[in-house]
Symmetry: C2
Subunit: 209 residues, 2 copies
């Protein structure tokens, strides 16, 4: 029920808290260690099994009790956000960088490939972008918005350069790539080449002959 969660910052609360002294006191050494262990474990478990992985699995993998986990992250979703945000940040940074490149077309398509690659075997990210069941909350939604903005810029510039068909929206591109990654993550689709599927999408995004 805390508004944010996952922010039990190592060095104190966020913006100016009422009692300054309380905010300044650093975390105890074991708490710092456990927090890191939990984050690492959650990263592996969520990436491998998706968001629906039991929280106990994360606790066990981290070698701590569930109580400890909940001390650090008041809710499962808070933990999930903390993990996914870092991954999303990388993508947003890549998108922003791509939006500034001179060769707009190539920038766009190579971002798409990088995007699909980053999604591979990272079930958590796919879930987050596909919003599997979870209310995509606050900061995650914000990040996703940033991603879309970067994409939008890239698309418009590539479009102007004649490298991409007209009228495509960031959401469509996102849906296409996230969708195919979601599919290839499933056991029944193990024979398929994700590489080729991405190729197909890229080819389809080029202007018609």
């Amino acid at each position: 029920m805390n508004e944010a969660g996952g922010a039990t910052a190592v060095r104190g609360g966020g913006e100016a808290s009422v009692a300054d002294e309380a905010a300044v006191r650093p975390m105890r050494a074991d708490a710092v260690r456990n927090r890191r262990l939990i984050l690492e474990a959650a990263e592996e478990v969520f990436a491998a099994q998706g968001v629906s992985a039991p929280i106990d699995a994360v606790a066990e993998r981290a070698g701590v009790g569930v109580g400890t986990l909940y001390r650090h992250f008041p809710t499962k979703e808070a933990l999930f956000e903390a993990i996914v945000l870092t991954r999303l940040e990388e993508l947003v940074a890549a998108a922003a960088a791509g939006a500034e490149r001179d060769d707009a077309g190539e920038a766009f398509f190579s971002f798409l490939r990088l995007f699909a690659g980053k999604l591979s075997n990272k079930h958590d990210l796919i879930d987050a972008l596909g919003a599997e069941g979870i209310d995509i909350k606050s900061r995650c939604a914000g990040m996703a918005g940033d991603l879309e903005s970067g994409l939008e810029t890239m698309i418009r510039r590539a479009e102007a350069a004649g490298a991409v068909r007209d009228g495509i929206t960031p959401k469509e591109v996102l849906g296409l790539v996230v969708g195919l990654c979601q599919a290839t993550e499933r056991p029944e689709f193990d024979g398929v080449s994700r590489q080729r599927m991405v190729d197909v999408v890229c080819a389809g995004l080029r202007p018609p002959a």
Copy 2:
């Protein structure tokens, strides 16, 4: 734990049963009516909410108790199969028909559009083809196999006709289309045009210029 389920046929058991007389006795009128009500309710509920919809929701919508539901379908999966199979059958039939058309290229692409259309707002089918969590069992898997076969034929013929790029597999096509449908089914993707996404995939499947 019955091997099949959902087959409590209106007119008796399947192949020759030991006691003939028992197999001949028709279902009671109310049982027939309820069975139909349950199937209709399940169709709507699963299509709208996906396979993870609570079974109570189906019972409530059908206006029967859960006990009645379980009398007709021994397991949730059995009910699910019964619903999805009919939908899958339509697709398989369409695929088989398409595989015989003379204009191989057009046949393939128009099947793809029909396929995407059939998936729209039918969460159950998307789940089944994407196998969301469920063990895709016996007859469903068989049907999915038939679908792939039909698709395979269409692809090979379209390929020979020079209408489709080389090396594409049915699973790749399935993954692409199911994936994009899965994405567009999500609330965050409501602004997107599924039509255009399908167009992109179709364009990408054509041979490179």
